[in-house]
């Protein structure tokens, strides 16, 4: 491997491909009627769907992005590419066992072992991946704000998977039930909170603080606001997580108070972050921004709507009733929306590096922008976010068939976006342009134009 290819995370594109397949499988379970909304929230197929989305799609996509961008954040290279492959294989294999385990719940004693076994394999793989990422993150001094968010996020990932394996044991191993049964009641909300909030949301905030300024030429420095978001969000999720667990074994007033204080801190952090994102977009120096940054606005709107819905539903005492709608907004609108929009840029960038990086200085090469067709993909992002909005709205009114129809639309949008990523990876558009004539390759009049 030469020095140039050392900068590329070799397994990141494969992780992205696996993640997209898992996303499609998850949506397919919902659309087919096997899982929610046609089945109950606790149905085995629903649990399989949620874990396909959370581990198979979001976690794998996040690790793929972090393996590539941890060196960007820290200026230090990863120690080993092989450990990224170990993470990928472990997560994918463990997830397959887990999905099989959910499907086999209560059918046979041996089948019941699949779920905790799969959870353990996933946990081990994520520990390997986290350690690989933490080495360069910790070594950098001073630690950049983005890296701090990622480190806190990885801490919450650990809390999420350890509790997840414990819940799997409580669900499937009768001998553990007397000890762990209370966790099944209170632990689930902590598991979801640590995963959706502490791991995904804090990490996504950290990554966004690196990518948005970089691609929009906006100031990187977030000042005291960035620190406040990290502390308030981190402490808030931790307090709510701990209170959720504590409430499973004791019912004290102070535990509920800690939980509520945590929820307020989370709301404060997210509101502060959304305000800072607006400041970031307004403060950008690049007036005309690319599609991935325009489309990401849909994800930020979904996060804002989720916060408003959560606050309103909690005040009205309807949180449980509106939880499905909230989850659609967070899982598919905010986290998946941000992931899909940023993948649009990251895949093209990785494709450029692997295909054309070695040709720089030898002759004409296309730009990263030449590997994509923004006009076509813009329609797909509109379709995706509209479908998610419809699904969230229908879920709020309990319209299961409408939710399934909306998720089918989202699935179509994801499949068509996956085709766009594949075209970018294969440089289809750039090759078409090159075949059309030499003028379409740089150095073009546009790129060479300078102050002579």
């Amino acid at each position: 491997m030469n020095a140039s290819s050392d900068r590329l995370s070799r397994w990141t594109p494969v992780m992205f491909a696996c993640a997209l397949i898992n996303l499609c499988l998850g949506l397919l379970l919902a659309v087919s009627g096997l899982a929610w909304p046609a089945a109950s929230a606790g149905a085995p197929a629903t649990l399989a769907m949620v874990h396909l989305l959370a581990i198979g799609w979001l976690t794998l996509m996040m690790f793929g992005a972090l393996f590539q961008f941890a060196p960007v954040i820290t200026g230090r290279r990863l120690r080993s590419q092989a450990l990224a492959l170990v993470t990928l294989i472990g997560v994918q294999a463990g997830l397959a066992l887990m999905v099989g385990g959910f499907g086999a719940l209560g059918r046979a004693a041996w089948a019941d072992r699949l779920l905790p076994a799969g959870g353990t394999v996933v946990t081990a793989a994520l520990l390997v991946g986290s350690a690989t990422l933490l080495v360069p993150l910790i070594a950098r001094r001073p630690v950049p704000l983005s890296a701090r968010f990622v480190m806190v996020g990885l801490g919450f990932l650990l809390l999420t998977v350890v509790l997840g394996v414990t819940l799997a044991l409580a669900l499937t191993i009768p001998a553990t039930v007397p000890l762990l049964a209370p966790l099944l009641a209170g632990g689930l909300s902590s598991h979801m909170l640590a995963g959706l909030g502490g791991w995904f949301t804090l990490t996504a905030i950290g990554v966004s603080y690196e990518l948005l300024p970089m691609f929009m030429l906006a100031p990187h420095e977030r000042g005291v606001v960035g620190i406040a978001i990290l502390w308030s969000g981190g402490a808030g999720f931790l307090a709510a997580y701990a209170a959720g667990l504590a409430s499973a074994v004791a019912a004290a007033g102070w535990i509920a108070a800690v939980g509520q204080a945590g929820e307020l801190a989370i709301l404060f952090a997210v509101a502060l972050y959304l305000g800072d994102v607006v400041r970031l977009y307004r403060g950008r120096r690049r007036r005309q921004i690319e599609l991935h940054n325009r489309a990401a606005i849909g994800a930020f709107v979904a996060l804002g709507l989720a916060v408003l819905l959560a606050a309103g539903a909690a005040a009205a005492g309807r949180l449980a009733e509106l939880a499905p709608s909230l989850l659609v907004l967070l899982l598919l609108g905010w986290l998946s929306g941000l992931g899909l929009t940023q993948l649009y840029k990251i895949v093209a960038f990785l494709a450029w590096l692997s295909r054309y990086g070695g040709r720089l200085g030898r002759g004409p090469v296309p730009r990263v922008q030449d590997l994509v067709n923004e006009r076509g993909a813009a329609v797909l992002f509109v379709l995706y976010f509209a479908a998610v909005a419809l699904a969230a709205g229908a879920a709020a009114f309990g319209l299961a068939d409408a939710v399934r129809a909306a998720l089918a639309l989202a699935l179509v949008a994801v499949l068509l976006l996956a085709r766009e990523y594949a075209r970018a990876w294969r440089a289809t558009y750039a090759q078409r342009a090159a075949a059309a004539g030499p003028r379409s390759l740089v150095p073009s009049p546009l790129v060479r134009q300078g102050d002579r």
Partner: protein
């Protein structure tokens, strides 16, 4: 490499480096303001340059691209590229044409 008709100048080097682009921004590195300094001595070229962001995944490709492009310039006997982070790159360092392309104000803000 052929013998130069006239002594190599920093202008010649800058002109050649306009063939090397930052792939993400899609614009040449000279007008982006990434090339800070060019030293020339007996055909040896010393380039001090930066990247738009530290740890840029394209860094090694851009540096190699600079070396390759300059190696093809008549009269060049060696190329040394040093990547520096101080002063940090800012859009203010772009040429007027690059600022116009990215629709950035003349003062870079």
């Amino acid at each position: 490499m052929t013998a130069p008709a006239s002594p190599l100048t920093a202008g010649d080097v800058r002109e050649a480096l306009r063939d090397v682009i930052d792939p993400e921004l899609g614009y040449n590195i000279v007008d982006l303001g990434l090339v800070y300094d060019i030293g020339i001595e007996d055909g040896l070229i010393d380039v001090r340059m930066t990247m738009t962001t530290p740890g840029c995944p394209a860094q090694d490709y851009i540096v190699t691209g600079v070396e390759r492009r300059l190696a093809d310039v008549a009269g060049v006997t060696g190329v040394f590229v040093t990547v520096v982070w101080s002063p940090a790159w800012s859009p203010r360092m772009m040429s007027p044409s690059a600022k116009a392309h990215f629709r950035i104000r003349e003062d870079g803000e």
